[in-house]
């Protein structure tokens, strides 16, 4: 316990770093993922193609490499120094957005075509079809996979440790400088992650049960 109580300041900062990465990356991922997901299911072939290339390209690139590009290559392109926290947040967001987009697309595809056709047949317009028929059903099947994406994002925040951002993944090297036992520190980090992931998993189950579709 001493490892934590003696270094509360650093643990606080590290946890804060992880949460900033998680929330910032999550926000970018949700917004960008929504746009890309919409492009992937749109009636415009070019938008579908662009979305497809983006999703398949980024998803077949290791997150470490994406972050490497953002943390090391982007500052060269911009010709100026950029805050590495900002760069890693953007990298996380861009990487996770592909998973968000796929979860959305898969969710919309679970709604049977007949549902929308029936809705159109009774004279609803596009907005009404979406609001009353498609989205309520799609949301329910999107929530569980979306939570899985967020859990993966939370675990992925540790990758920022390789790019000099203080978070739970990099706290080991900071505490080693203070002479703390690396094994104990890392075991505590594991415990914190297990707790956070179980918490998100619990939220996932609650939402899943609340919004289960009776089809």
């Amino acid at each position: 316990m001493g490892v934590i109580t003696d270094n509360l300041d650093l643990w606080g900062e590290a946890l804060g770093g992880t949460i900033v990465l998680f929330l910032g990356g999550g926000l970018i991922a949700l917004v960008l993922g929504l746009v890309v997901g919409a492009a992937r299911v749109s009636p415009v072939p070019i938008a579908r193609a662009v979305g497809g290339v983006y999703v398949n390209w980024i998803r077949n690139t290791p997150l470490t490499l994406v972050m490497f590009f953002f943390a090391f290559c982007l500052p060269i392109l911009l010709g100026e120094r950029v805050n590495s926290l900002l760069l890693t947040v953007v990298a996380l967001g861009i990487y996770t957005a592909t998973y968000v987009a796929e979860a959305l697309r898969a969710g919309i595809n679970t709604v049977p075509v007949g549902q929308a056709e029936a809705a159109r047949a009774i004279g609803l317009n596009f907005g009404q079809v979406m609001r009353y028929v498609v989205l309520p059903q799609a949301t329910r099947s999107v929530v569980p996979p979306m939570m899985s994406v967020l859990i993966a994002l939370l675990k992925n925040t540790t990758v920022a440790a390789g790019f000099s951002v203080l978070n739970l993944g990099s706290i080991r090297s900071w505490l080693s400088e203070r002479g703390e036992n690396a094994l104990v520190v890392l075991l505590w980090v594991m415990v914190i992650f297990v707790v956070m992931v179980l918490l998100l998993g619990w939220v996932q189950r609650v939402l899943e049960n609340r919004w289960r579709i009776a089809r």
Partner: protein, 308 residues
């Protein structure tokens, strides 16, 4: 083309769709144009930056890096499949004293980030006198993580099989091991093949984490070559070259998963279990389980591991 979201477009919709198409092209061109402009402006296309690639020793180094990545992936892939089977079968055991501990092991291992596992092996264990080269830290961490994920995949696959399969096995006099080995696992593995390969792609991508714990794989080589001041520090050219290698290898594996899934979808026996959105997610399990439990309620257009 008709889908859930839109009908066959009429004249006004056609015009609107074309407008959106043009707009998309403009946005993409703007982004690409900006990148190319910055590449030019910072002199990334100058001969001096690419000079280093005229040396065969550099290409040999890239080859070694790629080999290290593949070496870690090969062992980790095989190991995680083996561990996945062991844990998956343990998770389905009839004995609570086997089932419950295995369940907790899987839960915990899945919740810990792979990088933290690697650090635990590489930086943590030396404290109690266990030292290992980074290669083993990378491989063991990947086996442990992906093995526990695959265990859940296998379990979901077996539980999604019709009850009659198991009962018929017992009826013809097979024992538990026989039912598992001859009836349940072959079917579950075939149904879950796309998910298993998608998970192997994740393992392949995660070998790049070795970079952070100083394993000399492809990303390490990119960084090494890219920071040679005598050759103008060609970081961006090196990242372009090495990055293409990563993407190419992963795309090949993803494409195999995609093809397998297409094949599974065509065969009617597998259709009920084969397609699920879970295949394309890193943390596939909850989804697999969620979707398996209401299997057969999705239309065929739902896709899993999207290859190319």
């Amino acid at each position: 083309m008709s889908s859930v979201l839109f009908d066959v477009p009429g004249p006004r919709a056609v015009v609107r769709n074309r407008l959106i198409g043009v707009l998309t092209i403009l946005v993409v061109l703007a982004v690409l144009g900006w990148v190319v402009w910055r590449l030019f402006a910072t002199g990334q296309f100058s001969a001096a930056k690419w000079n280093i690639f005229t040396y065969s020793a550099v290409w040999v180094r890239f080859g070694e890096g790629l080999l290290s990545t593949l070496a870690a992936f090969a062992v980790a892939g095989v190991g995680s499949i083996v561990l996945g089977f062991v844990l998956g079968i343990g998770r389905l055991s009839d004995h609570a004293w086997v089932r419950e501990p295995v369940r907790w092991i899987i839960e915990v291992l899945r919740a810990v980030p792979v990088l933290v596992l690697m650090m635990l092996l590489y930086y943590g264990l030396p404290v109690i006198g266990v030292k290992m080269p980074p290669y083993f830290a990378v491989v063991i961490a990947l086996i442990v993580y992906n093995g526990s994920v695959l265990a859940e995949v296998l379990r979901a696959g077996i539980e999604s099989l019709p009850r009659g399969q198991r009962e018929a096995g017992y009826a013809i006099g097979l024992r538990k091991s026989g039912v598992m080995r001859l009836i349940l696992i072959p079917q579950a593995v075939r149904a879950m093949m796309p998910v298993i390969i998608a998970q192997l792609v994740v393992a392949l991508k995660d070998t790049a984490l070795g970079f952070i714990i100083t394993y000399q794989e492809l990303l390490f080589v990119i960084n090494l070559i890219g920071n040679q001041p005598t050759y103008n520090s060609p970081l961006i050219p090196a990242a372009i070259v090495g990055g293409s290698m990563y993407v190419a290898v992963c795309l090949v594996l993803s494409y195999i998963a995609y093809r397998l899934q297409r094949r599974a979808k065509r065969s009617p026996k597998q259709a009920a279990v084969a397609h699920n959105a879970a295949a394309d997610d890193e943390s596939t399990m909850t989804e697999v389980i969620a979707l398996q439990s209401r299997a057969g309620k999705h239309d065929g257009s739902n896709s899993g591991a999207q290859g190319l």
